[in-house]
């Protein structure tokens, strides 16, 4: 092979012939004795990583000798040299000799697969594992900060908050967290749980409920969020996802990084829907433990759907809407909850009516209700009285 040799001491190029022999390369100038070197194969390093026929090798200690090989036979020779090199170096050499089309499609396929599994599988997993290492006290502290930041929208009613907590205890729900419940005078039809045991219920939602066990179902759902550390997991997942994406965005140019971030955000929503479903399931379990009517959860969602007008929206846009939402579609939720209850004989238990819980709910509902709805309440009150009377009679009979 013909090559150009540099001795490392000066930039003078020597045209040399290179012959492979005795486990190495014999390098010599053809018509003089100026250069006469032997390179041991095992110590030859590949330096170049360039397209085309040119290959650069280096040898020895500093100042390194260098050899620029060109022309026929180089690729065959390189295969031998690369045997001692790392995977990365082999790959780097190979891609300079792969057809562009193959390279582009191959790269897109590999990149797509890896980034997909990273966003949707690996980063969520790391995030959730990280949560397990965080002690409850830290989670509670973080929750307090989040709660303080939104306390201005809560507009808490202290007396009613105490009643809600009593309601919670009467239902027999339990938690490792110190559960605190806020009754918000806000008209929103909503409720949420903050990491560390803080639950907030808005008056609008209480007004929507039509039976005490619907409120119990709601409490069960929010308690499930707390006990399963959903919001905290969500937080950890977003952070791990963001951290690594930000390392990558140095390499993957502008617009692509926006797409990656949005994919990540959409995945967060999918994940949030998963948590909602989990909270429905665990909440249902709590209802079972307290022998509260499980169908109350379906009723609760019926009220929510009536309020939000979701039915009409989904009829128009279709159920694809769900992908861009943090919650499952209410119709879907009602369906799967019904399936769970029907599919599991364990839910065929005799329902208990927890009197204290009923009383509290009535009181809250009474004070929250619109004048128009008061009639309904009167009716319900009468019904409960009848029931109470019956029970009294029963006890007397016994």
């Amino acid at each position: 092979m013909k090559a150009v040799y540099f001795d490392g001491k000066s930039s003078k190029p020597y045209l040399v012939t290179v012959v492979r022999s005795g486990g190495g390369l014999v390098i010599s100038t053809p018509e003089s004795t100026e250069i006469n070197a032997f390179w041991n194969s095992e110590e030859i390093r590949t330096e170049s990583f360039a397209t085309g026929k040119k290959v650069l090798l280096s040898y020895g200690e500093f100042p390194f000798q260098r050899l620029e090989l060109t022309g026929e036979g180089v690729d065959v020779f390189m295969k031998e040299v690369l045997q001692n090199e790392s995977f990365v170096k082999k790959y780097q050499h190979t891609i300079t000799r792969t057809s562009p089309l193959k390279l582009v499609f191959g790269s897109i396929a590999v990149l797509g697969l890896v980034i997909y599994s990273y966003i949707f599988h690996i980063s969520p997993y790391i995030g959730e594992q990280a949560v397990k290492l965080v002690p409850l006290s830290v989670e509670t502290k973080v929750g307090e900060v989040m709660y303080n930041n939104m306390s201005y929208i809560i507009d808490k009613d202290d007396a009613k908050s105490d009643l809600l907590l009593e309601f919670f205890d009467a239902c027999g729900f339990q938690s490792d967290y110190n559960i605190r419940i806020d009754y918000s005078k806000n008209n929103m039809v909503n409720a949420f749980a903050v990491p560390g045991g803080q639950i907030v219920v808005f008056e609008g939602l209480i007004r929507q409920t039509e039976c005490w066990d619907e409120l119990a179902a709601l409490m069960g759902h929010e308690l499930a969020h707390v006990n399963e550390r959903h919001s905290f997991k969500q937080l950890a997942r977003s952070i791990t996802g963001y951290l690594l994406l930000s390392v990558l965005t140095g390499d993957v140019a502008g617009v692509s990084s926006v797409i990656l971030e949005n994919a990540s955000a959409i995945n967060d929503m999918a994940n949030s829907r998963k948590h909602e479903k989990e909270a429905d399931m665990v909440g249902l379990e709590y209802l079972k433990q307290s022998k509260i009517r499980p169908q109350a959860m379906i009723d609760l969602f019926k009220r929510l759907m009536e309020e939000s007008g979701e039915e009409e929206i989904t009829e128009e846009i279709g159920s694809s809407l769900e992908y861009l939402s943090t919650h499952p579609l209410t119709t879907n939720r009602m369906d799967y909850i019904r399936d769970w209850i029907d599919g599991d004989p364990a839910f065929n238990y005799a329902h208990t009516d927890i009197i204290r819980a009923q009383e509290i709910w009535l009181q809250l509902k009474d004070q929250a209700a619109d004048p128009l709805e008061l009639k309904v309440i009167k009716k319900i009150k009468e019904k409960i009285k009848e029931k109470l009377d019956e029970e009294e009679e029963e006890t007397i009979e016994q």
């Binding site: 490392g8 190029p13 360039a50 397209t51 990149l111 990558l248 617009v255 692509s256």
Partner: protein, 329 residues
């Protein structure tokens, strides 16, 4: 080709009209894309720790595809060397975000934030000096390493007043500052006995930037490629080489038309591929810059001598290893 390069400039007593050779760039988008793919995969798998090695791979490729007088440049740096700078940057990054989150939990965390900003400002001269020094001393051509003979204390003596002036003038002085720093870095860089220097003046550079920014806004950035061209040409045309006997300037042949066509097409390519065309646009940009950079032929490029001592050792620089880092944020 190689024989032709022996220029007999001693034979002519009268100054000859200078002849030039240009650099050339041979990188291909598809190959670069292949490098990106592997780098991204390994960076993800190692939770980001592979990043310095990825950076070394990009550089090795870019350097290897750059050619002057039939010989390619080589980047001799390694991921291992850059790992140090990376760890520092990583901890600053994490520390900064940790303090930001602390702010929510603890009222006095803003003290940390301010400390971090101060730390960042202190790190700027380290980053500029260290990055230049690192890149220069790890670059070789025909086996001959570039040498940097700066002194960090000297550099700081220039840097600190320049930074203060820039802050006081709300950034207007930045053009002058940049020229001063370039002068220092270039004039302490050499290969063999050929020493670089920089002769640009702040006022002209300010003029280019002032007109460039103004017209860019007026023309809704259609003028921006011309501004970029002016900055590049300003840098190249004011850079000289000196071998102790003669001083000659580099020349740029980049014209507004070529810059405009190349950079605008790059922009369109990026928009229509949602950014995925970046390996190709990057290669196009390098190709444009290098083929328009002309180096005077009067120097004896065949007899550059290697500096004594290992390129990894510090020369005239007592800060030594501490600033042998490459940030490249």
């Amino acid at each position: 080709m190689i024989e032709e390069q022996h220029l007999d400039h001693n034979a002519t007593p009268e100054p000859v009209k200078p002849r030039y050779s240009n650099l050339s760039f041979h990188g291909q988008g598809s190959t670069y894309f292949g490098i990106v793919a592997l780098n991204v995969v390994l960076t993800l798998v190692t939770v980001g720790l592979y990043y310095p090695w990825a950076k070394a791979a990009y550089r090795k490729y870019l350097w290897n595809e750059t050619e002057f007088k039939d010989s390619r440049f080589v980047f001799n740096g390694t991921g291992k060397e850059m790992f140090k700078g990376f760890v520092i940057a990583y901890f600053i990054f994490i520390g900064f975000y940790a303090s930001l989150s602390l702010m929510a939990l603890w009222t006095y965390a803003w003290i940390f934030i301010i400390l971090f900003y101060i730390l960042l400002i202190i790190l700027i001269p380290f980053a500029i000096y260290g990055t230049w020094r690192y890149r220069i001393t790890r670059t070789s051509w025909r086996g001959i390493f570039f040498t940097f003979e700066g002194n960090f204390k000297e550099f700081l003596k220039i840097f600190v007043p320049q930074l203060l002036l820039t802050l006081i003038t709300f950034g207007i002085y930045a053009s002058w500052m940049r020229v001063k720093l370039m002068k220092y870095l270039f004039s302490h860089t050499r290969i063999g006995k050929i020493r670089m220097d920089f002769h640009g003046d702040g006022a002209s550079f300010f003029g280019i930037n002032f007109v460039g920014i103004l017209l860019s806004y007026i023309t809704l950035f259609l003028y921006s490629p011309v501004w970029i061209k002016d900055r590049v040409n300003f840098t190249i045309n004011h850079t000289s080489l000196n071998d102790g006997e003669q001083q000659r300037y580099l020349r740029s042949s980049l014209k507004s038309g070529e810059a405009w066509k190349t950079l605008m097409l790059n922009f369109v390519m990026l928009v229509f591929t949602l950014g995925l065309a970046f390996p190709w646009t990057l290669m196009r940009t390098f190709r444009m810059y290098f083929r328009n950079t002309w180096v005077p032929d009067e120097f004896d490029f065949d007899n550059l001598e290697q500096s004594e001592g290992d390129f990894r050792g510090a020369t005239g620089d007592e800060m030594g290893d501490i600033i042998d880092i490459d940030f490249g944020f």
